[in-house]
Subunit: 414 residues, 3 copies
Amino acid sequence: MDALVRRLYPLCRSITGDGVRQTLAVIDDLIPLTVHEVPTGTQVLDWTVPKEWNIRDAYVADATGRRVIDFRESNLHVVGYSVPVRTTMPLAELREHLHTLPDQPDLVPYRTSYYQPTWGFCLAQNVLDALPDGDYEVVVDSTLADGSLTYGEHVVRGQVDQEVIVSCHVCHPSLANDNLAGVAVAVQLARSLVNPYYTYRFIFAPGTIGAITWLARNAAVVEQVRHGLVLACAGDPGPLTYKRSRRGDAEIDRVLAHVLRDRPHEMRDFSPYGYDERQYCSPGYNLGVGSLTRTPYAGYPEYHTSGDNPDFVSPEAMVDTLAVCREAFAVLDRNRTFVNLSPYGEPQLGRRGLYDSLGGRSDAKDAQLAMLWVLNLSDGWHSLLDIAERAGLPFTAVVAAADALRAADLLKEA
Amino acid sequence: MDALVRRLYPLCRSITGDGVRQTLAVIDDLIPLTVHEVPTGTQVLDWTVPKEWNIRDAYVADATGRRVIDFRESNLHVVGYSVPVRTTMPLAELREHLHTLPDQPDLVPYRTSYYQPTWGFCLAQNVLDALPDGDYEVVVDSTLADGSLTYGEHVVRGQVDQEVIVSCHVCHPSLANDNLAGVAVAVQLARSLVNPYYTYRFIFAPGTIGAITWLARNAAVVEQVRHGLVLACAGDPGPLTYKRSRRGDAEIDRVLAHVLRDRPHEMRDFSPYGYDERQYCSPGYNLGVGSLTRTPYAGYPEYHTSGDNPDFVSPEAMVDTLAVCREAFAVLDRNRTFVNLSPYGEPQLGRRGLYDSLGGRSDAKDAQLAMLWVLNLSDGWHSLLDIAERAGLPFTAVVAAADALRAADLLKEA
Amino acid sequence: MDALVRRLYPLCRSITGDGVRQTLAVIDDLIPLTVHEVPTGTQVLDWTVPKEWNIRDAYVADATGRRVIDFRESNLHVVGYSVPVRTTMPLAELREHLHTLPDQPDLVPYRTSYYQPTWGFCLAQNVLDALPDGDYEVVVDSTLADGSLTYGEHVVRGQVDQEVIVSCHVCHPSLANDNLAGVAVAVQLARSLVNPYYTYRFIFAPGTIGAITWLARNAAVVEQVRHGLVLACAGDPGPLTYKRSRRGDAEIDRVLAHVLRDRPHEMRDFSPYGYDERQYCSPGYNLGVGSLTRTPYAGYPEYHTSGDNPDFVSPEAMVDTLAVCREAFAVLDRNRTFVNLSPYGEPQLGRRGLYDSLGGRSDAKDAQLAMLWVLNLSDGWHSLLDIAERAGLPFTAVVAAADALRAADLLKEA
């Protein structure tokens, strides 16, 4: 995952353009992607696909021709979607187009202006402070033209058509935690799924407009979506944070609470600010989609700055995020609701070889306890996860009990 | 408000009679009142309007003719609804008609006997203790005769016929906090309402029988009542206390919780003891009517004694009570439920001028956050107050967001 | 109760056989029992009534003929349902049939093998450790033959056919707390019921198979069961523990919470492990049956060992358990839901002699408060117990208020 982050880091992504295409091509090397191109001007829900933006070069140079701000050093230096410009202006006038972080004077901020045609440069406050007055040459060698918005999908077919979506935004340029770490975890997660119950769909799309485009073009798929996870900021050193879906008690919310229970973590209620859960959880869809991050949206000083580079994310953190995702999907995939076929009194487990023959002991075995719990609560209303939570037993023990009881014809699916 | 309290203080109010009429006349000087007279004998719900009681004079005089208990000094000295009496009796016999507070020997208690014909005097224990044995002349120059029960209403018409009622009892004689302070706050509150959404009805009626009479005669209005507040004990030095309606989660209960959140206050569950919320919250009506006081019913030593005089209430306390009422009604009046007309994904606020064009910043503005919250939760189930509570935003910010979104045709009323 | 425990203690009970019959005969001396015999081979729900087990003698003797393990000393020494055996074998081979408690080396464990034909002895670890190698004579003089399963019932007819069941397991041999103490409390409880509202049915049956047999043969009675209590471990020195029914908020659960509130106690959620609440609360029945114990199932070191002898239980503890049962049934029996027949405003209690005529006092009497609470909450939804809990008043005060209001035609049963 670390290698993938470092490979994707230099590409100049935005909400459209070749940076996204190159990113999807790299992912496609690891998991096959279906790549979609949606033409400029296409109406998607309340939005319109914008012109495609590409950039070859950009700089601000002083009177000696020295580049004092240089896109070739970092693509963060140019405001995303800057319109082409080639001019010379005094520093005083140029300042209106310069963005800095006065409180973090060594860092370059990340700024965009997708829907308001303008241009700008981002730089460290310290660099700006050191610029002498005088005229500067300003060049943004970009194009804004009819083209398309690009996103990719990878689908792992399951036993049923009902879907779990995993969504990562791929529109940020050189920012590692936000969201190359999320992409890297999603790729490994996709590779780890073997014959799952649900169909899992991984969506790599630009933030906001990309998720909106996907939703607009996939009404039939949306009908099949049962659960989902927005993956972002998956590699910073902070503990995991799960942000509940708008529903607040969707199955994915309960699964993550169960899986995170014994790890350092933070649970947050839904808010309509953050990543693409904003779209999946808009009231018309209201999908059971939560968001898993380590330190969440805007919660760390390096957020949306040049400080969010590949050294800020760690392989250990990504491995930990991946482990939680895998565990959560293992629970989700096995969580089912059953009906006890022998609901009057306890069935005689002993004659079915499911219960110790020696009575009187006080140390009941977990496997037997789990069977009693599954039998008692399998009334068509309690899922295996409900039972695990109520019994205080590991989910895997409850699944094993359900398997044994099903094999003995004592349970059927609700 | 302090002046009004002091002006009303000397009047000898009871559940009927000229004291109530004089009180309503003083209020009518400040806000126009419709005054109703309901004849003795009228059946009102389970009750009957009693005979009207008036009193000219009352005293107990010693053998020298000196008045040792004198109605002219304080109307608390006579038990309310005392029947006329003119006799002489020894102290031993008189004692059965005397009421004191042995634990508060300097204070005169307030006592009534509306429905059991008797007479009595109230006095300080210390005064009683100093009375020598011997014969005393006893005079109650009162009348109990067919007449009427009097109450007043002031209505501020709103944009809709649905009503908010504010109810104050006006049956207590010279007691300042209970309830001249409540009357004074209600009068100022009425004067402060300008073109409200709801129709606000202020009811000045004697306790219990007055509220019952109002309810009995206003079946059609009761159908329109959506919210209400019983105002009492509004001027003592204690912190505000809100007693929830019987429903416990009526909108008025949630509004007061919201408004009081950042002030010292106490929340109490409904109990069927206190002021006229007892009637409005009887199970047949079960109105969303709470009760706002400072120190509540029977909660301060001066309660129902001569210690509850105009010096016990402070202008500052009444101003504070008034401020909370005004804030609460401002929330109530603006609290509405909307439906997001663009519920699939977020609508593009930027092209409507409602969203910053510069992206990437982490300091989202409250106004934008409020719009996202309103859009996300406006599904016909969440009111603006629900949204403010859930978002942790000021109610006013949420209202402003809703106004902006309505102006942009993104919301309609549910 | 202590005498009953000591009288029943020596009997060798099991899930069938003469020990149960003798036990029921002793109980029948105190409260008349209907004793049922259900033949071996009868299908009961998912189970089959097993062969009847009886035992005359059993021992392990050393080469000198000395009994080193002797059933005549304690019936715990033989594994319940041991098949007959008469043989000699070396200690090494015998060990496979010996059960000890290595962590409690002085105590004899209680073990059974009802459904797996085998034989075995239980002894103290210290005794086992002292046995020299060599051959031992092994005798179990038992019979396993067609016969019947025996259980007894005592019914106290009430004013209605709806039933409360009290269930005690009577299958354990010489164990005092588990469950002779429960039996003793149940017997006294039955004797204390005088003209109850509900019909109370006391079930004395072997654990699991006995409760299952009762359920299988009493489908019509089960339809009438409204509440129930499984009584066990009723005499140990620990505080009372109430384990809720599977429903969690059944009326019996709320009654026990109310009654235990002011005593040291522990509340536990339902779990499908313990005593016969397992059967009554299986999902097909889901009866409102909780379990009252002192220290619960498997919660004390003496549990299912020879340490659970008559000295382990105390008369004081049984008296305390009985008192709580009686109080709980008094609440259950009087808990009813009413409708206020004068629900609009408060009815005029004064003219009905239910309210003080002297007004203005702040010390409202509990009886009047209770009437106001009953009137206010009697809307057909709140039971008297609900009202007592909400009002913070004793249940008896609320019952008295309801009685007075019914006498005044202000309430009717819902």
